[in-house]
Structures are given as structure tokens and as C-alpha cells.
């Protein structure tokens, strides 16, 4: 029940080979951890959730953090571990796609809280509100008293991206647990296990590329991996960037290096190549930003480069997405380098 209700990730069109043989489950679902202990990253928070899974008596909690860091997964796994066979009747899961207006909160949630289910000691009914920051504040207000009155039998678990969108009275009634982006190492470990069980042929560079494109988001990493695999049956750098349709960071990196070395012509021709490949200016700039962020250069240069990239991005977002803008960005970067260079 739990896994099926999650929003379906963007699966690639299955290749002719696999489509004819069987229907492929999205790997995000297939490899979704079912135990709290298996959740990757955020070890401190997860270890506490593990204790809850063992001891019961779950407090009301809010999990907040960026997407793809395992909030929903941990809650679902926690609910399964706590309630086991009672899961069907003792868990109410509502996410943003369900009707969650004020009347539903007042009626459905209250009815569920009043419902009587025989549970082992230390276990409570659980109401999971996924994407709770999309609830209206009126609906959240209506939740307030319910949370308190039925705390003997029913506990709440909320997941959200920004905790400040949860109204204060609700925040006050919950323990707030923050999730942060996963580190590259953590994602890599998980990818390796998936690659092994799915028998995906790969080169290390390919996995690195996937991690680069995922940017700390496990869901995206798995989706990209599956997309690359079903598209090309081989995971290397090139295929990953083809599938994810992002400019190759190495290419962009070369561009930056050329600028830093004063070879402006080379940098420009590199940019032209990228542009001719059909990448949109936004994509190029996004990659450029990530590359600059991690590029090892003098502090002043990095600061100025970031600033110029930011402004160029702003202009592109305003609608001026021409090659001229991108070349202008390169020119500005070169200018920064010229002014800063020791005579």
C-alpha cells in the first residue's frame, strides 16, 4: 500500500528488449528500503528512528529536508516496523495528491483518530501526512487540537521540504528532525549495491557522472541510473549525460580552464560547440555553476565567477537566452581574470 501510493518517478521509455520481456518496476520503488536501518544517510536522525522502531512509543515528528533524502521512506519503513500486520488498519497516509482540505482533516483524520484498533503495548495508530507543507494553514489549524486530544492512541508523522511552512502550534507539538542532502559517498554506496543486483555493466566514471547529475538526491540518482541502463545497457559518462541531457561537465570544465589560462578563443569555441549541440542556455549555466563551485581556484576569482554566473543566469531567466549572453559571460570571466592577474 505504501509503496504504490508514492508518486511514480519519471521512468524512461523501456527499450524494446526489456519492454517485450517484462514490465520493469521503477528502481526507486524496487530498492526503497523497508527497514529504517537501511535508510541511507542522516545517520543521527535515522539511528533515533531505529530506536523508535524497536521500542515503540513514537512521538509526533516532523521530518524536513530537501527531496530525495529519505524522509518518506523512513516514515513508511518506521510505520511498517512498528505496526507490522496491523499496518493496513492502523496507518492513515495522506499526501498532497489526496484531498486534504479542511473538511478532510476535520472528518477523516478525526474519525481515524477515534477508531479503535487493538495494538500491542507501546504501539499507536499513525497518521502520515506527506508533503505537509502543501496543506493550507486553515487545515493545519484544524489539526492542532486533534493532535493533542488523541495523543493517547494516535501519533502523527509529517514530512515536508520547508518546516517554516508548518504553522507554529503544530511545530510546537512535534519533534523536528532535519534531513540534509546525501553525500556523494552515501549515494555511491547505494548505487553500487543496485548495480550489483541488477547486473548493470558500468565504468566508475559513469557512476560518478550519475552522482554529479543527482546532486545529493537519491531518487534522481536511481532514476538516472535506470534510465541510462534501459537506454544504452551500459553506464559510462557519455551515456549518462546523453540520457540526462546535461552538458558534459568535463567540457564545461575545459572551458573554465581555458578562461583561466587566458585562451579566450578556445573557451569561446568550446562554448559554441556546446551551444550547437542544442543545450539550452539554462542547462549550460546550471552546469557551469556547479563546475565553478567545485573548481579549485583563487578565492577572489571564485567569488567573481560565481557572481557573474549568477547574473548571467538571471538574465537568461528573464528571457535573454542567446549565445551572445553566454559569450558575454565568458568575456566577463576573462576580464575578471585580467584585472586580478599580477602584472
Amino acid at each position: 500500500m505504501a509503496s504504490s501510493s508514492a508518486p511514480p518517478p519519471s521512468t524512461p521509455p523501456p527499450s524494446s528488449l526489456s519492454a517485450s520481456s517484462y514490465y520493469e518496476v521503477p528502481w526507486v520503488e524496487k530498492y526503497r528500503p523497508t527497514k529504517v536501518a537501511d535508510v541511507v544517510g542522516n545517520s543521527d536522525a535515522v539511528s533515533r528512528l531505529q530506536v523508535i522502531a524497536r521500542e515503540g512509543n513514537m512521538p509526533n515528528i516532523i521530518l524536513s529536508g530537501p527531496p530525495g533524502t529519505g524522509k518518506t521512506t523512513s516514515i513508511l519503513a518506521l510505520a511498517h516496523e512498528l505496526l507490522g500486520p496491523h499496518c493496513k488498519e492502523a496507518v492513515l497516509e495522506l499526501n498532497a495528491s489526496d484531498d486534504r482540505g479542511i473538511d478532510v482533516v476535520r472528518n477523516k483524520i478525526k474519525m481515524f483518530a477515534q477508531k479503535k484498533v487493538t495494538l500491542p503495548p507501546g504501539r499507536h495508530k499513525i497518521i502520515i501526512l506527506d508533503e505537509a507543507d502543501s496543506m493550507t494553514s486553515a487545515a493545519q489549524q484544524a489539526l492542532r487540537r486533534t493532535m493533542e486530544i488523541y495523543s493517547n492512541t494516535t501519533r502523527f508523522a509529517l514530512a515536508c521540504n520547508t518546516s517554516s511552512k508548518i504553522i507554529e502550534p503544530i511545530q510546537s507539538r512535534c519533534a523536528l528532525v532535519r534531513f540534509s542532502r546525501l553525500s556523494d559517498q552515501e549515494i555511491l554506496e547505494r548505487l553500487l549495491t543496485v548495480v550489483e543486483t541488477e547486473k548493470v555493466p558500468y565504468v566508475p566514471g559513469g557512476l560518478e557522472a550519475i552522482i554529479f547529475t543527482a546532486d545529493g538526491d537519491m531518487r534522481q540518482a536511481l532514476n538516472n541510473l535506470q534510465a541510462t541502463f534501459s537506454g544504452f545497457h551500459f553506464v559510462n559518462e557519455e551515456n549518462v549525460f546523453k540520457v540526462c541531457d546535461q552538458p558534459h561537465p568535463l567540457h564545461v570544465k575545459n572551458m573554465i580552464r581555458n578562461v583561466l589560462e587566458g585562451k579566450f578563443d578556445d573557451a569561446c569555441s568550446g562554448l559554441k560547440q556546446l551551444y550547437d549541440l542544442g543545450y539550452s542556455p539554462t542547462d549550460i549555466i546550471t552546469t557551469l555553476f556547479r563546475v565553478v563551485k567545485n573548481y579549485d581556484m583563487a578565492e577572489y576569482l571564485k567569488l567573481e565567477f560565481l557572481k557573474e554566473t549568477g547574473f548571467a543566469h538571471m538574465r537568461v531567466c528573464d528571457g535573454v537566452g542567446s549565445l551572445l549572453q553566454l559569450s558575454g559571460l565568458l568575456a566577463k570571466l576573462a576580464l575578471v581574470r585580467e584585472t586580478a592577474k599580477a602584472p
Binding site: V51, D103, E168, Q171
Partner: protein
Amino acid sequence: MGKRKTAVVCSTSPEEDAGRKQGSRSSSSKSFAAARKRTRGGSSQCGVGEISDKPPSRGAEAFARLSEDYCECLQDFPSTQGMQCSKGNELWVDKYKPSSPAQLAVHKKKVEEVKNWLRERLIASKEKFGNHVLLITGQAGVGKSAAVRVLAAHMGAELCEYSTPTPTLWHEHVHNINSGLSYRSKLDEFEAFVEKIGKYSLLSSSNAGASRKATIILIDDLPVTNGRVAFGRLKKCLTALTRFAQLPTVILVTEYHRTDNVPTSHFEELVSLLERAGAYKVAFNRLTVNSIKKVLSHICQEEKRELPSIQIDQIAKASCGDMRNAINSLQFWCLSPDNLLISYVSNSMDINSRVLSDSNKLSPIVGLFGHEELNCGTDFSYGRDETLTLFHALGKFLHNKREVMDQIGLELESLTLREKFERNPLKMDAPEKVLSQAYGKARPVTDFLHENVLDFISDGAIDDTWLVTSYLSDADCLLASSLLSHSSQKLTEMDDSQRVSQPVAASVAIRGVLFGNKQPLSSRWHAIRSPRLWQIEQSAQHHKNKLMVERFYFSNGFSLSLSQMVTDYMPSIKWLGSHTTDDNGHEKLIQCITTDLIPPADNFSSNTIESTFREKIEDDEIEDW
């Protein structure tokens, strides 16, 4: 009861009855009352429906019907208590509820104030008092309801809480439209409740009987109103309640931070309205760190968990004066695996070693906060206050600690810069990483840096200030685009663009401060202030939004710019409002304008416009329930 049949979820499994006490199962109202008494731990609180075991007066009956749902939810409690086998099953918030006035963490003077008010009303309730309404305001978790509960119990009064019945779903109502169920909004129900309290004074009449205890009515969840008309009704209702209440009534209103994106306008309006109507207002301030700490360490003692005092201090600080959140955080924090193991073996030797092991265990996380704060940086991630995690990151950015110069490292770089652009390597991880570990967001970071950076720049360094300010303004400019998209419709495209603009802005701000501050002041202790500019901006935004909403209500037929709203519409509303005691200046203005616009002779069309207006308003109301 008819209402309930429509609900699908409500079902009682028969085998479960074994676990609960048989007496509570019987449906006589006497045992309802008894059960209720038991549930609330023998304290003297009980539902409004209590009067139903008296010989029914006319009003009482109506009242009982109104509050019948409340009885039902109270009925649930005995069953849950029967199920409760082990002791450790409660939330600590419930378990350690204050039970005597001395235990309240609220300031003594405020408690005294409430107590005196209640005593006056309770003892001399026969005498004539102007008003019977007490209004308690305060932020979430400062102990408003706890104070009222404890004091009522202390004085031996019954506390009757207004609680809204479970409503039927709208589509269920549509489905069963012929079965005679009536569909009422919360506001309707609240109005009916107030009306009954005022008209029949039924509680006092049934009180007249014998040695009944005095009664206090508690109203905690006021119906949520949405839109001007519904809010107007609520206001009218509350005014009536304040004027005609016969029994001491306590209304709790939760105060919000101004910075919240929740509409707060209603709060101030409600409070001032109630005060004008004659309610006595007591404002609870947020709790001090010390009082929270006291309670937390008391709980730790009771639970036999030994926590380092630094830890308690951190939790108390992170809770922003919110006791409930502090206790919740404490409970969650105590779940740490090795805490559990060691809490059973409680001797002082272990405690020391555990503190060590704790800081070791957490050190990978702590490491990011810097070496000097190793033992106090354990878990910032559990408080309500997001800024606390930010503070440590900000402190690092502002103090701007750098390695001592060594030429060898610089020689290796391919590109040498002019001297004025050279900086020594930073004594920290990449700023972006520090920020992400501190859960920082671009906007607040920029504002905080802006507010505080001047304190950290040495006195004569005007050049540094110039640099820092220009970078901060760049960051602000970069953020502006995301601000725009924030206020407008959230498109996925916008989200995408924010993925770049936000981190860029944060990086520029932080790196700008790091780079620009060439000779930071030697590390001196500075308090980091919260940005004033930000607050002003927030409230400006908030007022604008409010006006936009009003414009929406006002604008069918007329289109007004924002400045017209401010210069023409608002003053006239105020002016009209000063002439009328009621708060329907808005409607009056509409009348004025409609009659202004339409020749007076043409009464018919004026009426139609008026009526379309009303229709429009009524349409709105349906959504509001």
C-alpha cells in the same frame, strides 16, 4: 447521532472491549460523566455535556445535543487507558503536565493575575460584574492552556471546553441530501454555541441545584475563518459572547511570529476587538531559557536519563521559548541508542564516559561546526529554531579565521594575482558545505550577514566595508528574482531556476563577506542580531498581501490600484468605522459607493447591484465554512 452514520471509518471492533472497563461501556449519561472524570486523571475537568444528568431544562437539552460529540470523543479515553499496559507509552508532554500552580513555568505574576481574575469571578459570581471573559494570548507552547487547567483544578472549578463536533464531509452531505442531515459550518456551530450560552445561561441555571462546583468555560479552538464576511461573523459572535457571557469564560488565542507566512492579521484584530468589548487580557510572554531548563532537568531526573547540562541548555535554547517543543525534542533526543543502554546503569562514572562517547559518536557531524565547539555542537538539528544552526555557520563566516601566511602554498598556483586580491586560505571547509550543514537558506543568510557584518570589520577599514556591501547588494539582487517567483504562482520552471539562483546568491554573499573583510577584528564576543531589515520587509510584504486580498473583495466592478487602496479606500473605511459601532464599515462604504455611482432615482438597479454583491459575498461564505 444520525450524523455519524454517514462516516465510514468509525467502527468498533468487538474483541477490543475486553481490554476496557465494562462500566464505561454503558450508555447512561451518569457513567459518561464518571468516565470523563477518570480520564483526566481525577482532576475536575469535564465536558460541557455534564449537565445532561440533571433534570433537563430546555436550554440544557439543546446544549447537550450540541456537545454530544464532545462526550463521544471523551468516551474514547477509558478504552485507551485500558490498553495502556506499560508506563512508558505516553508522550512526555502529557506525562509531565504541570499539576500544581507552583509547577507552572509561566511567570508568577501572570499566574497570579489569572488566578485572581478567576477567583473574583468564581467566588463572587452572583454579584454583578461587567464582563466574564478572560483573554489569554501568547505564542504556541508557553503554557496558556496548562495554566488555565491547573488553576481551575486548584480552585476546584470545573473546566468545560468548547469542542467542535466532527463534521460530515461535503460530498457525503450531497450524497445523503435527502436523509435530513443538516450541514453546518464550524462558524454556524460556534454561533449557536455562543447564542445558547448567552440566551439561556443554562450552565448557571443548572448550577443553582446543589453543591455543584463552579464552572469555567474554556474556548481554545476558535473556528478558522477565511475571508472578510466569515471573519465579520466571528467578530460579531465574539463581541456578543463577551457582552453576554454569564460564566467565567477563558479564550485562548495563539500568537504567531510576524515572520510567519501564516496570515496574522486576524490575530491582532481579534485581540483588540475582544479588549474593546471588555475582555480582560493577559499576555503570556515566551518562556525563559532558565525555566525551560529547570523543567527539562526535572524530567530527566524522573526518567532517570542523565543528560549533560550542555545538552539541556542547547535544547532549551533551540526551542525559542516553547516548552512543549522543548519537551518533545528532549524525548526524541533521549532515543539515542547508547543513551538507552546506559540509563539503566546509572552511576556517575558512566555518565562521564558517556558524555565522551556521545561527542565521539557525533563528531563527524560536529566537526563541521568547528573544533572549538566540539562538545556543545551535538544536535542542533532538533530544535524549532532554525537560526541556531545558522548562528554557528554565521559565526564562522563573520569571524573569518584564516591560515597563517605561508608562501610555499601560493607558489604552486598557476596564476598569481595582484596583492590586493590575494587572501590566505580559509580555516574551514568550503563555505557552501558549511552552509548546507547548517541547513541555511539564502535569504536569511544574506540578511543576517548584512545586519551583523559591520560589527566584525575593523574600525578604519572603509574599503572593506565598500567591498562587502557591494557583494551583499549583488547577492540581494540575485535573490530578487526568486522573491518574485515566490510571491507569484509556483511553477516548476521557477523551482528549477531557484535551484541555481538561491545557492549562487548565498555563495556570493558569504564569499563576499569572507573576501571583503580583509582585517577582521580579533575574535571578540559579539551577539548576532536578527536582521531588522528583514522584519520590516516581511511586514511590508504582509501588509501588501492583506491589501491585495481586500482589493479582491472590493474589486468586483471597480478596479483600483494599490495606491488608491491605501489613499482612498482605507481612510474612508476608518472614517466610517469611527462613526459606527459595528464593524461593517466595509458594507457601508459599498452602499455609499453604489449609491454614489447610480442616480438615486434609479432605485431598482441600485438594489440589484447590492443584491449581486450580497450574492457574491454569500458565495464566498460557502467556501469559508
